[in-house]
């Protein structure tokens, strides 16, 4: 517990890793290559059991934007996020990520552009060591061992978890595991980061540190959360989702000030 709190302060920026003095001759591993945009139109999705989880969504997000997804339990936030990565495919409509339409041809490149962090870090950390886990994505991308090594190191440094490299994920505290889960996707050098409920289960100090980390990221950022204060602190734009559709989209401050809207969508 102790360590993790200190580290976040000493390595605050994911995009500006200050360890290992990366110069320009070196590939700067965490500067995303893609254009970081998202465009969704008429998105419908039905689960195999018949549940209509998404019912016509239109959405455009510019590169580098930071967007909070708000909405009640069961609104469709997680379902939407799984479309950005091609894990779910639209029943109708299209999803464009970094300029590519998500399809079987583009799926490999789409997954390289979109880093998805799951709510439960244990779902994401399945390798014997932290190092292996962070190396998993780059390895599947077919990078050279040298490049993999660089990616892993920079990603771990970015979240302040370099000293955990040789530890087993199961022996880490929740806060540490959340950080390593983030590193596993940072190592793939995505232009878009998607987090499902990053603050659940963290104590107030861990939550504050998470906010600082989110503020320091430069990638396009889409985060679902029930924590309105987190949305206010780190996300200029918010989207309210309810019953599979977008109920509101605008400046976070305005949305959070609209008490009627919040009440109507289970946010107050």
């Amino acid at each position: 517990m102790k360590e993790q709190h200190e580290h976040l302060h000493t390595h605050p920026g994911a995009a500006v890793p200050h360890s290992h003095g990366h110069d320009h001759a070196h590939e700067a591993p965490l500067m995303p290559a893609g254009d970081g945009t998202i465009a969704i139109s008429h998105l419908h999705f039905r689960y195999p059991d018949g549940t209509e989880a998404l019912r016509g969504m239109d959405l455009a997000i510019a590169a580098g934007e930071k967007v909070a997804l708000l909405g009640p339990n069961g609104a469709g936030k997680s379902t939407l996020m799984l479309h950005l990565n091609g894990i779910h495919r639209p029943t109708h409509g299209t999803v464009h990520v970094a300029g590519m339409q998500v399809s079987n041809e583009t799926i490999g490149r789409v997954r390289a552009e979109v880093g998805l962090v799951f709510q439960d870090p244990d779902d994401q950390l399945f390798s014997p060591t932290v190092w292996d886990d962070v190396a998993f994505g780059p390895t599947h991308m077919g990078l050279t061992p040298g490049a993999i090594h660089d990616r892993v190191e920079v990603a771990l440094a970015a979240v302040g978890a370099l000293d955990l490299a040789q530890r087993a994920p199961m022996r880490l505290s929740i806060g540490q595991r959340k950080r390593v889960a983030l590193a596993t996707v940072l190592a793939m050098n995505p232009s878009i980061l998607v987090f499902d409920e990053p603050s659940a289960g963290l104590d107030p100090r861990g939550r504050r540190e998470l906010i600082e980390l989110l503020q320091s990221l430069t990638q396009t950022l889409i985060v679902s959360t029930h924590d309105l204060e987190l949305a206010r602190a780190a996300f200029p734009r918010s989207i309210v989702v309810d019953r599979g559709a977008i109920a509101a989209d605008g400046a976070t401050d305005e949305i959070l000030a609209n008490r009627e809207l919040l009440l109507a969508h289970g946010l107050a």
Binding site: L82, N85, I87, G108, R111, A112, V114, L116, F118, D120, D122, D123, Q124, F126, S127, P128, T129, W131, D132, A135, F136, G137, T139, H140, M141, P145, I148, H149, V152, E153, L156, L162, A165, Q166, A168, P169, M170, T184, V185, M188
Partner: protein
């Protein structure tokens, strides 16, 4: 600076082979080879000391095999050769066979020593590195991957099970007041409850497997899944294999040469 990933986890093949060879050599000793068994234990204790594990600790860990002694006890009384003692205790007429006693004692010592050998193996090599070593030794990839994931999720699922058991315990109260029928419910009700716990845990494990699958897919995994980096091959493997052969030779020869009791 951080260590190279390829140095994380050692090539555990030598450790695995040594353990298996040692256990086999011990198993091959004929009944009554107490001296050879003591020698084998001393070798083990020496190896333990090199790894910083005291002989007392090792010996205690070895006791986990003891409950199995029940299986070997009858033979002490049921063989009729080398009668050591015969008499009656209460209604029972008993006889103690020397040969039976020798078989039981030898089995026990072997079990006790072998357990300590696996304890040492774990001290030498982490579970994941043992799995990797087995993969190198041609363990099929399906088994290796599923064993690796079993080890990974073992504690998580046991923890879930523990919390569920705890929740059941917390509601296992006795009545206050009257109108009681049968405290604790019927046996079939209890069995149903336990079955439901098992079923719930299965559904949780199943949906976790699906999420892990999604998480792996979103990082580019397709179809087959290889988890964990292979550590560099041990450059002194051949040398170590010779060491192992020597060890086996010592134990086996001592079994043949040292007097048996």
């Amino acid at each position: 600076m951080i260590a190279d990933p390829r140095s994380i986890g050692r090539d555990a093949r030598a450790a695995v082979v040594t353990t298996i060879a040692f256990v086999t050599a011990v198993a091959l000793l004929p009944p009554g080879s107490y001296l050879a068994l003591i020698l084998a234990w001393l070798l083990l204790a020496f190896a333990g000391a090199l790894l910083g594990i005291g002989p007392g600790h090792l010996a205690r860990r070895g006791l986990v095999a003891l409950p199995f002694v029940v299986a070997a006890v009858p033979i002490v009384f049921l063989r009729s050769d080398e009668l050591l003692w015969a008499g009656t205790i209460g209604p029972l007429s008993l006889q103690v066979s020397g040969a039976g006693l020798r078989i039981a004692l030898t089995a026990l010592m072997k079990a006790w020593i072998s357990v300590q050998a696996s304890v040492l193996l774990l001290a030498l090599a982490s579970p994941p590195s043992i799995v990797t070593a087995l993969r190198r030794m041609r363990l099929p990839a399906v088994i290796a991957t599923s064993a690796g994931l079993t080890i990974r999720y073992l504690e998580i699922l046991r923890d879930e099970a523990r919390r569920m058991l705890r929740a059941r315990t917390a509601r296992s109260a006795s009545p206050v007041g009257d109108g009681r029928e049968r405290i604790g419910g019927t046996i079939s009700w209890r069995a149903r409850t336990t079955g439901s716990l098992v079923g719930s845990l299965f559904l949780r494990a199943y949906s976790r497997a699906q999420r892990v699958e999604d998480a792996a897919a979103s990082r580019g995994a397709t179809g087959s899944l290889s988890i964990g980096t292979m550590p560099a091959a041990d450059s002194r493997l051949t040398l170590k294999v010779f060491g192992v052969l020597l060890l086996v030779l010592i134990i086996t020869l001592s079994g043949a040469l040292l007097p048996r009791l």
